[in-house]
Symmetry: C2
Subunit: 506 residues, 2 copies
């Protein structure tokens, strides 16, 4: 039982002070990681690894201190209002997970992961899965052990998945991914069979990096990015990071891929914009933090796909792009729209995938991960299983491991269960956008005029402002009036691509 003698208010305040400290340590580590990816000189790596490891250990110790447990128990014995209850619920979840895993295992995972990254890089460069195989085997074993400590009675993959999406259960994820597979495979076959003349080379050519950067700033200006609380830089793997006071975007430029830099910038804007919408006064507490990966990805995908790959967006944005690139003078908004939505019939690489194929990439990874963790698939069989699934779902077979199961970094991070949130977030994006369209009049017209204020206001109010106040299902229900569902995404996909590719049955 609780040994806390203070009043509820004292205990709650003490818990907040404690979690604020933990959050500050985590946010400091976030700054160090941004620095490492964006500006740190190469030689800084050994010292940076030690700094990050110290911060991680200190955060862990503060969280797992028995005082945290005492305060939680005391507060769980009292009547709390909704917000406080949510704060206690979220801290309890973190505390239970952190205390159930022995420190030795945490350190072994951390060490194995640190060494896994260069091994994965080498295997990918050498196109040789066998280089990575023993490491992957060890990572799988460690993750199973980790899951077993957290909940020995649960499906270990479910436990891992919940690290990234705690409240939509694995069954929902499975159901949604199966449905995406079952409905997108025939849609893609129909597209493949279509003879529609879809413009593909509106953005062919080479585009100067500096001008692309200027245009990326135009994109962010246009969407309403708050430069007083953010900045744009380049990074090899674009990401965004930060807090509601300072949420930064990174992007990258390829002179042969202007469209890629625009969509990637919009995607990262979506993440940063969510972070910036979290309430200032909740800083340091769960009320000021994002509701995990599904919701985060819904924000990036909403802006990238529902706004950035829409006709009205290109009507608005093409004139801006022409200012930077006069060679786009003859490209029509319709041609830009088509180019931004072309479907590839031979795509092997997830990060280059179109909006539909993307989910089949995720399905492959999900099925392989699940079977690896359950033991139904041996690590040594991963390349073949991967290639078979690509052939089955995407109609294309990778010829190398580099283009196959070694393409993504996530497993080398020890991350299993992460991929599904990419699809779950995209699906949620469609549901949220449909609800916003219902609530806001003439949303298409606003986008066409480059007026994103109402859409952003809606997202702020319905999603961002709540932090972790609600669980994912409750947040979706509050925002849309419905349970989480893939209906809107599939309707959107069929309607949009049926129209684009003149498909008869869509």
């Amino acid at each position: 039982m609780a040994t806390v003698s203070e009043t509820e208010t004292d205990a709650y305040d003490e818990l907040l002070t404690r979690i604020e400290r933990i959050t500050n340590v985590g946010n400091a580590a976030g700054v160090l990681r941004w620095d490492q990816e964006v500006v740190m000189p190469e030689g800084g790596t050994p010292a940076r690894a030690k700094q990050l490891s110290t911060l991680s250990a200190l955060g862990h110790e503060l969280l797992t201190d028995e005082r945290t447990g005492e305060l939680l128990e005391a507060l769980e014995d009292t009547e709390l209002d909704g917000e406080k209850k949510a704060v206690v619920r979220e801290i309890r979840r973190r505390y239970d997970r952190a205390t159930s895993v022995p420190q030795d295992l945490v350190e072994e995972i951390s060490e194995t992961t640190a060494n896994a990254h260069p091994t994965w890089v080498e295997a990918k460069e050498e196109d040789d899965f066998s280089i990575f195989e023993p490491t992957l085997e060890k990572l799988v074993d460690l993750q199973k052990e980790y899951a077993n400590h957290i909940d020995p009675d649960a499906d270990p993959y479910e436990v891992l998945f919940a690290d990234y999406e705690p409240y939509l259960d694995l069954e929902t994820a499975e159901r949604v991914l199966e449905r995406l597979r079952d409905e997108l495979v025939p849609l893609l076959e129909a597209i493949d069979d279509s003879e529609a003349d879809v413009e593909t080379d509106a953005f062919a050519g080479t585009f100067d990096d500096d001008d692309q950067e200027a245009l990326a700033r135009d994109v962010l200006d246009s969407l309403g990015y708050d430069w007083d609380r953010g900045r744009l830089d380049t990074a090899p793997h674009p990401f965004s990071t930060g807090t509601q006071f300072d949420a930064r975007v990174t992007t990258r430029f390829d002179e042969n891929d202007l469209l890629g830099s625009i969509t990637s910038t919009i995607h990262e804007f979506g993440h940063a914009n969510y972070t910036l919408g979290l309430p200032d006064e909740g800083y340091g507490t769960p009320l000021g933090e994002a509701r995990d990966l599904t919701v985060h990805e819904s924000q990036s995908r909403l802006w990238e796909n529902h706004v950035g790959r829409s006709r009205p967006f290109w009507e608005h944005f093409l004139p801006i792009a022409r200012e930077r690139f006069p060679e786009l003078e003859d490209v029509s908004p319709e041609a830009a729209y088509e180019a931004a939505n072309q479907v590839y019939d031979d795509n092997l690489i997830r990060v280059e995938a179109d909006e539909l194929t993307y989910h089949l990439h995720i399905v492959v990874r999900f099925e392989i991960e699940r079977d690896l963790i359950s033991g139904d698939l041996e690590v040594s069989d991963v390349p073949e299983a991967w290639n078979d699934k690509y052939e089955e779902y995407l109609g294309v077979r990778p010829e190398t491991d580099t283009e196959g199961c070694l393409q993504d970094i996530h497993w080398s991070h020890g991350s299993f269960g992460y991929f599904p949130t990419y699809s779950l977030g995209s699906v949620l994006a469609a549901q949220l956008y449909a609800a916003a369209e219902d609530d806001l009049r003439e949303l298409d017209d606003r986008v066409r005029e480059g007026d994103f204020a109402d859409l952003n206001g809606w997202l702020r109010e319905e999603i961002h402002a709540h932090g972790k106040r609600y669980t994912t299902p409750d947040l979706v229900e509050e925002a849309t009036g419905e349970a989480y569902t893939a209906d809107y995404f599939l309707e959107y996909a069929k309607h949009k691509y049926g129209d684009l590719y003149d498909l008869e049955n869509y």
Copy 2:
């Protein structure tokens, strides 16, 4: 007595692990401060303040944990080799200081200082000392209280001074500063009376910022800056920061002051180059940390003044500068040398001072600080005392507080006792350079050829490699074979300026 039962090795390892953690927290805070000065968006301030405050508190708690004291006691009871002894000595010093000051006072100082900065900015902008006066009074009182906790029997100014220079005692500082004052005042009068025709406008004109940045990179290339462990950025107040793995330089550009950006870049190179020379294997411990401010400043001043303001340097560097700025075609190395060493007879601002006047600026601050802390000077009398001393030592009376006692930021940081290290470091620079000249053949010729490897090798071996292994006096003695002395600086100053200004008695 110590309650440590482990062997000496165990206790030492545990102490090292502990201090490495503390150092990592401090270095993480260093990254956050660099970020704040160089890249952080303005809006990030409130969250950054909280992150830094958490890191500072955690570092303090780790240091003052009673376990630190137990380990120190146990180790002090054993026979240790020289390096271990030095590590224990340095940690003991930090521990004793940190544990003798109550946490309440630490927090009050931190809070008062945080609020002092905007007040100082306002007072300076408004040219009104009375705005800053109550804050300065509070800061002085708090610093006296702080000093009193550390050593109630000592002169409080001596205690404060030792935060910046722990091993050269205040008496040495006083003696050196008095001697500088007594010898430089007549030297400057002689210069003022001189009719020598010293070139002053070799760098007159306006110089594009981007080209200045390119030239600053040339400067760093030329001196041998290790770009794999560093980077150059701009900041309103140039500084350098980091560790032996990642030591960064900042500088600033004023289109009317090319020379200023070159000398400032060289100065910051000197600091960063010292940091980079600290041994990798000592990272996280006192053996991998710089020997405080006097030695740090000796490194920046050695490069700035003894290299960067020398004739051979300009023979080497002028052709490089002409590549960026063809308008320097007609400037001779001698003219550049003279311009870089001109002495101003009406200089009110420390950071714009020449190599000689500079020390009189320091003497003024030192005398005022000492009298403020002893109580011999009232805060309200600071402006008049300041102006009187400027008139007496520098022959020029500030007409405003902005140009007078409000010009420097240090007091608003609560830093008293810091200024003397600027002069002590410059003095040491001369002593070290003379010793290097003795040890290395034809150093002037090397500089003329742009070959700084031997000089840098000498500094690495004699100074950088030792970290905090030796106390300041021992380090100086080891490196130069002599006790710390102002002789070399005064000899250098008289010789150089006597020559430049055709002074009869110098």
